[in-house]
């Protein structure tokens, strides 16, 4: 699975410009699903199975998009000013490298200032190595993502865009391993999650499922002087109880926990005090539905070096397969 993860995280696909990720995913899953279509906003929707008497219509969502930068102005010397796509943090940028969709590379610089606190985005610029505006390979409206290769450190995998390519990988691998299911499963590789869960909003409306599950990263509390959070790398995938945007249906929490226990898989319970996932908008689509989220614990989210534990990832695949293989009784 590591090669799949590497290909996914090294693909540039910021919110609104997900084509390259979409094409890669489509190739990976084409032989494993019954039907694929791309909807009006660019969500890739793959159906596997048909609803049977013991099954439900289930929507799974992992987002293809990552955070990035978009050029607002190229000055006469070729320096590009920018604004952000999604939750980019200013302190992650100076000195970092970015890759534009047309292949151009850039380094992020900042105006000189004497204060200790980090610059605002308005004081930064991207240096693409050109000497003036005419020679610049970038112009107003071009988009870029962090430039970092995938790397392994023992059991730990590090790359940019683990959020949420690792969730995408889990879904792809689940589709590979899932032999049979009583359910009609819609795997949605969603767009524009990072700018407000927009792809999942419309995909949920279009599919109108009975149950929704998101697969996304979550934070941990296991680094020095960290936030107080009972989730750690290496202790298994997390069953989300709540986050900054949603409360999981308790019956769903039970179902996911019991399934993990029956399958003897490690898992953690997650309460995240900030952030949210595609599950939030699935929950209030149309007349609403029970939702949950299977989370991959991740350190340094939204930085260029997001870190997950490979064991957690493999256990997430196993747990997802177990969840989808049998009828669901929410009691």
């Amino acid at each position: 699975m590591k090669e799949l993860i590497r290909k996914l995280v090294e693909t540039p696909a910021p919110s609104g410009y997900e084509a390259k990720a979409r094409e890669l995913i489509r190739l990976e899953i084409a032989s494993r699903v019954d039907e694929i279509h791309v909807d009006a906003l660019g969500n890739l929707i793959a159906r596997k199975g048909q609803v049977s008497p013991q099954g439900m219509k289930i929507m799974l969502s992992a987002h293809m998009d990552e955070i990035g930068l978009i050029v607002t102005h190229v000055d006469e010397y070729g320096f590009a000013r920018f604004t952000t796509i999604g939750g980019v943090r200013a302190h992650n940028l100076p000195g970092g490298r970015v890759r534009f969709m047309n292949g151009a590379l850039g380094v992020i610089g900042q105006q000189h200032h004497s204060e200790a606190k980090p610059s605002a985005f308005e004081e930064m610029f991207i240096d693409v190595g050109s000497k003036n505006r005419k020679d610049s390979p970038v112009r107003l409206g071009d988009v870029a993502v962090f430039e970092r290769p995938f790397t392994e450190m023992g059991d730990r995998l590090v790359a940019k865009s683990m959020d949420d390519r690792i969730g995408v990988a889990v879904l792809i691998e689940t589709l590979r391993q899932l032999d049979s299911t009583p359910h009609e499963i819609y795997c949605v590789f969603s767009v524009q999650e990072e700018v407000g869960l927009r792809g999942a909003t419309t995909a949920a409306f279009g599919i109108d499922p009975h149950l929704g599950l998101a697969v996304d990263v979550t934070g941990t509390g296991d680094t020095p002087k960290d936030v107080k959070m009972d989730v750690s790398l290496g202790k298994g995938p997390a069953v989300k109880v709540r986050d900054g945007g949603m409360l999981t249906d308790p019956r769903v929490v039970s179902w996911m926990s019991h399934t993990a226990e029956k399958a003897r898989l490690p898992y953690q319970l997650e309460i995240l005090e900030y952030g949210t996932t595609d599950a939030r908008v699935m929950q209030v689509s149309r007349a609403g539905m029970p939702v949950g989220c299977l989370s991959i614990p991740c350190r340094y989210i939204h930085s260029p070096s997001e870190m997950v534990d490979y064991g957690d990832v493999q256990n997430a695949v196993r747990l997802m397969s177990a969840l989808l293989s049998a009828p669901i009784d929410l009691g």
Binding site: S15, G16, Y17, A19, H37, V38, D39, A40, L41, G42, N43, I70, V71, T72, H73, D75, E76, R81, T83, I85, E122, L140, G141, Q192, V195, R198, G199, T201, T202, A203, F205, G206
Partner: protein
């Protein structure tokens, strides 16, 4: 009628009527009536929905027609009377985003009867220099309709700036150019709707207070794609230290502004490309609105139902949400020309997923 639309005296007079009319978010009737009078005779269907949106359909001819939603918002930012303080002085609040620094010393029109009033300010002689370094808050201001007129105004009445439309050489100066320019443009596009599409026109309400009308209009129409006609600021003023202004958003005179990204929407790249190609093929000047903050009705429209590919095009305007905005007549003409040409060149295969990038 399929001839190419133009801006002549008739259109200028209509824009004058539209900008001088008073229609604050939630109370859009004065503009709604003008719109209905203009479009009822030239569409197949027109109705007013539960929020007050005007929804009109002009069907095209031929098979496999795209259903295209065009939207412009009828409402403007303004004020609402909250309390009668004392005979002719009224407390008020703003409706929609207004910078309170624009309010002191301005005339207003109150209520359906357009009762004239003024937002006064303390005489400068009675202020201290410290006081003049503080902004005047809305809370400290009152609308004054003159002694003896207090009974003509009641709590809940809306009020707007009282600026009248006028030409300034190559430019126009008026209140509510955001978005009466869009409304006027949409009326002309309906008048000259090309035959290759079903044109679904939505004159929306309550854009300024949360895009509320546009969402339900899009849900009702369920179109194949949407083009939003709003107004976007031009911050193309000089910097205080003569440094380069890198955050101008758009520039007056540089043509219709095509959006790629704002705070509410990442615009469909196929539609952006279609507009750019149309402009270049037709020799129509255009500019790309700088990505960043702000938003249009597209923010609500593109997320409706199972998603609606959307793009926004604006006539750039300086000083929106103030007593007097300034726009260039040439930008208006070119916006109308661009959108009309883009509609006429629309084909269903534009929306094929293979092209989505």
């Amino acid at each position: 009628m399929n001839n190419v639309p133009t801006i002549a005296n008739v259109q200028m007079k209509l824009l004058e009527r539209l900008t001088n009319a008073c229609a604050v978010s939630g109370d859009e009737n004065e503009v709604r009536q003008i719109v209905l009078d203009q479009i009822r005779p030239i569409v197949d269907e027109a109705r007013v929905d539960a929020l007050g949106n005007v929804l009109a359909t002009k069907r095209g001819q031929g098979e496999n027609r795209l259903r295209v939603l065009l939207a412009a918002h009828m409402d403007e930012v303004g004020f609402i009377i909250t309390h009668n303080d004392d005979s002719s002085f009224f407390r008020f609040e703003t409706v929609g985003g207004i910078d309170a620094r624009y309010l002191a010393g301005k005339p207003v029109l109150v209520g359906k009867e357009h009762i004239p009033g003024v937002i006064g300010a303390k005489p400068v002689h009675l202020t201290s220099s410290d006081e003049r370094r503080q902004s005047i808050t809305v809370d400290a201001l009152r609308i004054d309709v003159g002694p003896g007129n207090g009974s003509k105004v009641k709590t809940g009445d809306r009020a707007t700036f009282a600026t009248s439309f006028t030409r300034l050489g190559p430019s126009l100066r008026a209140k509510a150019l955001d978005d009466r320019l869009g409304v006027a443009t949409l009326i002309e596009l309906v008048r000259h709707a090309p035959a290759n599409i079903d044109l679904l026109a939505a004159f929306t309400v309550q854009e300024e207070v949360g895009l509320r009308g546009a969402g339900v209009a899009a849900y009702a129409f369920d179109p194949d794609l949407a083009i939003i006609l709003d107004s976007t600021p031009a911050h193309d003023l000089p910097a205080w230290d003569a440094s380069e202004n890198t955050r101008y958003n758009t520039r007056l005179g540089a043509g219709p502004a095509i959006y790629v990204a704002d705070r509410g929407t990442l615009y469909d790249t196929r539609l952006v490309r279609h507009l750019v190609e149309t402009a270049e093929a037709g020799g129509i000047p255009y500019q790309i609105r700088q990505p960043g903050g702000g938003g249009t009705d597209a923010g609500a429209v593109h997320k409706q139902r199972a998603g609606i590919p959307s793009v926004s095009v604006s006539v750039p305007g300086r000083y929106p949400h103030t007593p007097a905005g300034v726009a260039r007549l040439s930008d208006w003409k070119n916006t109308l020309a661009l959108v009309h040409a883009a509609l006429a060149r629309l084909e269903p295969r534009l929306l094929s997923p293979d092209d989505k990038s």
